[in-house]
C-alpha cells in the first residue's frame, strides 16, 4: 500500500499476460459466454478477427492496482470511470499504470483523484479512465 498519498505519485503498475485460457476462466466466473470472447471460430469471422478479453477482466486488473495502492479505502470508497478503446487479445501483455493527479479535502474526508491507462505490448491504449478514492484524514497525505 502507498505510505504517502501524494500528488503526482505513480501507482505500482500491474502487468498481466492475456491467454484464451484466462478469458475462458473469466467467462466461467462471470457467466459471460458471449462468443466474441470464447468461440474462436465465431470470433474469427467477425470484424474483430478473433476472440477478445472481457472488458471487465481488464478492469479487474485496474482494480487490483488500485487495491494495492489504497487497500480498504478503494474497496469501500472507490469510484471508477473507464473507456474501452481497443480490445485486449490472447497473447497480449497488458501494463496497467496510474498516478495520483490531485488530492482534495472536504471536511474531514480526502479524495485522491487518479488517472489510469492500460496498454498492450505494442503501446496501444486498451483502457483509459479515472478513479477517485475516499480516505480518512488520518491516512498519510503529503501535498507537494
Amino acid at each position: 500500500m502507498l505510505t504517502d498519498i501524494q500528488e503526482g505519485k505513480a501507482l505500482s503498475p500491474v502487468i498481466k499476460h492475456i491467454t484464451q485460457e484466462k478469458i475462458n476462466l473469466y467467462a466461467e466466473a462471470s457467466g459471460d459466454f458471449n462468443p466474441i470472447h470464447v468461440d474462436e471460430s465465431f470470433a474469427a469471422k467477425t470484424p474483430l478477427g478473433g476472440t477478445i478479453a472481457h472488458g471487465m477482466l481488464n478492469l479487474a486488473y485496474v482494480s487490483e492496482m488500485m487495491a494495492s495502492a489504497f487497500g480498504r479505502s478503494w474497496l469501500s470508497g472507490g469510484k471508477l470511470r473507464a473507456r474501452f478503446k481497443e480490445p485486449a487479445r490472447p497473447g497480449d501483455t497488458l501494463t496497467i499504470s496510474g498516478k495520483i493527479d490531485c488530492v482534495e479535502q472536504k471536511d474531514d474526508v480526502s479524495y485522491a483523484n487518479c488517472s489510469f491507462e492500460c496498454r498492450n505490448q505494442k503501446g496501444e491504449m486498451i483502457v483509459t479512465g479515472e478513479t477517485i478514492v475516499k480516505f480518512s484524514k488520518d491516512e498519510k497525505y503529503d501535498r507537494k
Binding site: A67, L75, G78, F84
Partner: protein, 131 residues
C-alpha cells in the same frame, strides 16, 4: 429455475432485469480470483460483485444470434467492504437506449445490496450492439 430470455427490442428505458441473489462463497470468490490472476485480500473483490451483476443480466438477455456486443464504457462506485460468505442482491435496469442506423447504444445501470439492504455498489455501463 429457468429464466425467460428477452430480446434487444424488449430492452427499453425503464426495463428492469429480474433481480438476482448470489452467495459470495469462498469457492465462488476463489474461482473469480483465479480467473483474474489475483491473490485477493480477504474481502470480495468489488469487480467480482460487478461480475455477478453482469451475470444476472446476461442470463436473461439474448443478443441477436451472431451479434457482436461491445462494452464501450463503464462507471463503478463502491460503498462498503463485502466479506466472503455474504449474500448480495443485484438489480439492473435500462437507463437509456439510443438507436442510430444499424446500431443501438444501451446504458445499463446496476445497484447491488447486501443482506441488510445496504447498497454496496452501483454502476453504469454503455453497451453497443446491432439494432
Amino acid at each position: 429455475m429457468s429464466v425467460k430470455t428477452i430480446s434487444c427490442d424488449e430492452l427499453i428505458p425503464g426495463y428492469k432485469f429480474p433481480p438476482a441473489t448470489y452467495e459470495l462463497s469462498a469457492s465462488l470468490v476463489s474461482k473469480y480470483l483465479k480467473a483474474v490472476d489475483s491473490a485477493g485480500d480477504g474481502f470480495v473483490p468489488p469487480l467480482a460483485i460487478t461480475a455477478c451483476a453482469i451475470a444476472a443480466m446476461t442470463k436473461s438477455f439474448a443478443p441477436p444470434s451472431g451479434a457482436v456486443v461491445i462494452h464501450a464504457s463503464q462507471e463503478l462506485e463502491f460503498f462498503k467492504l463485502v466479506p466472503i460468505g455474504a449474500t448480495i442482491e443485484c438489480h439492473t435496469r435500462v437507463a437509456q437506449k439510443i438507436t442510430r442506423s444499424k446500431m443501438s447504444m444501451l446504458i445499463l445501470e446496476h445497484e447491488v445490496f447486501d443482506e441488510g439492504k445496504e447498497k454496496v455498489q452501483s454502476g453504469r455501463a454503455t453497451i453497443a450492439l446491432p439494432a
